[in-house]
């Protein structure tokens, strides 16, 4: 099949391209099961080497190639041509400054992540037998969903609350905090809840729900945010929601 790409481009380093503009590319012999990333590569490798994007693993695990494809945040390597049709519009994710073409400045995103203490804290002495700390598989499963996060920013940059206020930590950072708040081995849950109850924490979330369908790892992001909100209200880390009642 033939496919037409319409790509949002910008290069601050080239006179005349400092402001964003659209450029069209046509590709022939496209297989419906080709990944959008492969098609962007074909454009780059066969037609215009200056087309710039991030990518690495090409199968949805490294989180490099988040972009807005036909108006929806996707990983270009995890969406197939047949899923988006023969007219494909690609633009950078929203809410972060564009560096060049499809590449945005990820620093604000990672800064937010670092704010929520996204690391394991347990100051007790290590087990005397020199072995692992114990945890039941049931307790392990409570935070399984949020361990899947690859920090691609699809959720945060789909969130209207984040677009409106870039100081909001955003869904990805809350997911990062959730992974530790509900880990029975961790001891800094209350500190994270305190951070997230600040004005730019979870209460900026208006449950708009864009984040959940945006997640390429199928994390129930809105539910995780709801669980953190519940934990703040209850002042505990036992807020795991068993049903989808918050939706």
């Amino acid at each position: 099949m033939d496919v037409t790409f319409r790509i949002r481009r910008q290069n601050p380093d080239v006179p005349g391209q400092e402001r964003p503009y659209w450029q069209e590319f046509s590709l022939a012999d496209v297989d419906p099961t080709d990944r959008v990333l492969e098609m962007l590569h074909r454009i780059k490798w066969e037609q215009d080497g200056s087309l710039s994007l991030r990518r690495s693993c090409a199968h949805g695990v490294c989180g490099s190639d988040a972009m807005r494809i036909n108006g929806v945040n996707r990983l270009a390597c995890k969406i197939l041509v047949r899923d988006v049709g023969e007219k494909i519009q690609v633009e950078p994710i929203l809410g972060l400054p564009v560096v060049k073409d499809l590449i945005v400045d990820m620093e604000p995103f990672f800064d937010h992540y670092k704010q929520v203490m996204p690391f394991f804290v347990n100051n007790d002495p290590l087990p005397e037998d020199g072995r692992e700390r114990l945890q039941t598989q049931e307790d392990r499963e409570k935070f399984d969903d949020t361990t899947k996060c690859i920090l691609c920013a699809c959720c945060t940059t789909s969130c209207p609350s984040f677009w409106a206020n870039g100081h909001y930590v955003g869904p990805a950072a809350i997911v990062g905090a959730h992974r530790f708040i509900f880990d029975t081995r961790d001891q800094a849950g209350q500190e994270r809840l305190d951070i997230l109850s600040e004005p730019n924490g979870v209460w900026r979330c208006r449950t708009i729900f864009n984040c959940t369908p945006a997640c390429p790892r199928d994390i129930e992001v809105t539910k995780a945010i709801g669980e953190v909100k519940l934990a703040i209200r209850k002042g505990t880390n036992v807020g795991i929601i068993q049903t989808s009642a918050i939706h």
Binding site: D13, W45, S50, A58, G60, K100, D105, G130, L134, D186
Partner: protein, 614 residues
């Protein structure tokens, strides 16, 4: 050029680099991690099935069994003392990862859960053992995330999206590295008392690969160009189960959970090639079997792929045949719970649901056993005698200790990077205490900057993407699973032609400074080209078959002449280099020698190089 001065410069932010960063920091060193990717994008994150360690949480297990499996898996090219260190340190390293918060799956005893993996056995090959510690089928993701999180906790300095393109050697010691800040295109010098290469592999030399686009072997190529020999480059592993045509990895854990490989006549063909371990024989054995079945006309639809079947009815049928306990039988929910990412990949890319249909798989270029030679403390060594290059360290896939010998066992890549990243980090912290920064030469960085200007000006007709695809195709055809003198000569001559085009006819569309991926891909192609060349040349010279190196014109392993590591050097102009390969670096056989010394009769010796049977 801006100069950054730190005790230790770590190149690459995957598992090995982050482990080294953590332990060097804990040892008091001021560390800078310089990486072309954001750390969480590193390829460690794609490792699936598990990390091997003889914890014995589910089956009786000992590090010496793990050592034996590693030596045998490496077709006896493995350095035995290094393998022993690997297996012994694996236990404490995995426990430390758990203490850092890594969310392993758990047993009913609340301990780290373990699964079977290819080539991992109990009691010197007696039966398969559950040794791979896992977090679903995203163990590498959890390792990478956990280490990055701990680095944040410990305030490690990161220079993200700074790509290292050269190293500075002063009087035979490493004085630092040169990097390009991708966002601006500016060159920076990172001056360190020590530099640690943890920059990953070069699977992108081949067209069907499980490797990320960014795995272009930058660190190994830089070392090679600066006079460091590379070791055992002829050994590159093809993993038997990549998704057909795409190469995306399907973990060996699928077979660990009971999945089987089936040919076009519905036969579980591995029973013929490896009567005991069957589908869980080592990877080189299974990949060759797939090629041989294909040649015999038994690939699915005659297209060179096989079916990997993990449907519960299939798995349980074979479990019943083998007399396995009914408690081991699986159902749909077992597959969903233990292999969620695999199901996701197959559903997304193939429209195949592995619970209901078999997966189409073919061998995929996966892992470099060879690389920058190091000793067991990750110090770079530059000759057969083990002379250390002061200030130079390497670990992970880019290094060659050698614990993987001629063929790496599944899970041992993760073991390698945590064990030797950790050891190297500790060693480096000690080293920098007693070392000083070497004075930089006046023209530091000038040479590589000029090389980039040459590339940027390219106004010929050969795009880097096109050249790379041609290289990948010839490597796949001529330097793949099976090799002969003729195919290897063909490969070398194709590479020479591509080199000529790279240096005389390159076309670069993007002349700008900011995030110039056209430029960087061209330079990375040059790295791949050098590594492809030394792979083909050492493969041509090694006239035997061993592990992943399979010569159809020399089918047998030949310990008398070839039980030795190769070292290859590159000299001269990059546009027309000359190569020299030597096969005189001894394999460490110390465990076998100790058995002889103990007076063990030959039939009781476990580490004697014998023919490998699975």
């Amino acid at each position: 050029m801006q100069i950054h001065k730190h005790d230790a410069i770590i190149i690459g932010a995957g598992g090995a680099g982050l482990m080294a960063a953590l332990y060097a920091s804990k040892g008091g060193a001021d560390v800078a991690v310089v990486s072309k990717l954001y750390p969480t994008r590193s390829h460690t994150g794609t490792a699936q099935g598990g990390i091997g360690a003889a914890l014995g949480n589910l089956d009786e297990d000992k590090p010496i069994y793990h050592t034996y499996d590693t030596v045998k898996g490496g077709d006896y090219l493995t350095d035995q003392h290094a393998a022993k260190i690997l297996a012994e340190n694996a236990v404490e390293a995995v426990i430390e990862l758990e203490h850092m918060g890594l969310p392993f799956d758990r047993t009913s005893e609340k301990r780290i859960s373990q699964r079977r993996f290819g080539g991992h056995t109990r009691n010197f090959g007696e039966e398969l053992v559950r040794r791979a510690c896992h977090a679903a089928d995203r163990t590498g993701h959890m390792i990478l995330q956990t280490l990055y999180q701990q680095c944040i906790k410990n305030d490690v300095n990161f220079f993200d999206e700074f790509q290292v393109v050269d190293m500075i050697v002063v009087d035979g010691a490493v004085a630092g590295v040169v990097a390009i800040e991708l966002g601006t295109g500016e060159f920076h010098i990172f001056q360190g008392k020590a530099s640690f290469f943890a920059s990953g592999g070069w699977g992108r030399c081949w067209s069907v690969t499980s490797n990320a686009h960014s795995l272009t072997g930058d660190g190994a190529a830089i070392a090679l160009r600066r006079g460091v020999p590379l070791q055992d480059m002829e050994f590159f592993q093809f993993h038997p189960t990549g998704i057909y045509r795409m190469g995306i990895l399907i973990t060996e854990g699928v077979r660990g959970e009971g999945g089987v490989l089936i040919n076009s006549v519905g036969e579980r063909f591995m029973e013929r090639y490896a009567p005991s371990a069957k589908d869980l024989a080592s990877r080189d054995v299974v990949s060759r079997a797939i090629y041989l079945e294909t040649r015999a006309g038994r690939s699915i639809k005659n297209r060179g792929y096989m079916h990997l079947d993990v449907r519960p009815q299939t798995v349980n049928r074979y479990f019943a045949e083998e007399g396995r306990d009914r408690a081991d039988f699986i159902d749909d929910s077992t597959v969903e719970r233990k292999l969620p990412d695999i199901l996701d990949f197959c559903r997304t890319y193939l429209g195949v649901d592995p619970v209901k249909e078999p997966m189409p798989v073919q061998p995929t270029a996966h892992y470099a056993m060879g690389g920058i030679p190091t000793n067991i403390d990750a110090e770079v060594v530059i000759d057969a005698a083990g002379t250390v290059m002061p200030g130079a360290y390497a670990a992970g896939e880019t290094a060659c200790v050698s614990v993987h010998g001629a063929n790496r066992l599944g899970t041992n890549s993760l073991v390698d990077l945590v064990v030797f990243g950790r050891r190297g980090g500790m060693k480096m912290a000690e080293y920098v205490k007693g070392a000083d920064w070497a004075a930089l030469p006046n023209d530091a960085g000038a040479e590589i900057e000029a090389e980039f200007e040459r590339i940027r000006k390219g106004d010929g007709k050969s795009r880097p993407g096109a050249l790379r695809q041609l290289m990948q195709a010839t490597m796949m055809d001529n330097v793949g699973v099976f090799r002969t003198e003729e195919t290897l000569q063909q490969g070398i001559s194709d590479l020479a032609e591509l080199r000529e085009r790279f240096y005389t006819d390159l076309q670069i569309d993007d002349k700008s400074r900011v995030f110039n991926t056209d430029l960087m891909e061209a330079w990375e192609f040059g790295c791949l080209l050098d590594l492809a060349e030394v792979t083909a040349r050492t493969a041509l010279e090694r006239k035997e078959s061993r592990g992943a190196h399979s010569r159809e014109d020399f089918k047998k392993r030949d310990d008398e002449n070839w039980l030795a590591h190769s070292l290859i050097t590159q000299r001269g102009e990059m546009s027309d280099p000359s190569y020299e390969a030597h096969f005189d670096k001894k394999v460490d056989l110390s465990l076998w020698e100790a058995e002889i010394e103990e007076g063990l009769p030959e039939e009781q010796q476990k580490f004697k190089p014998i023919e490998r049977v699975y």
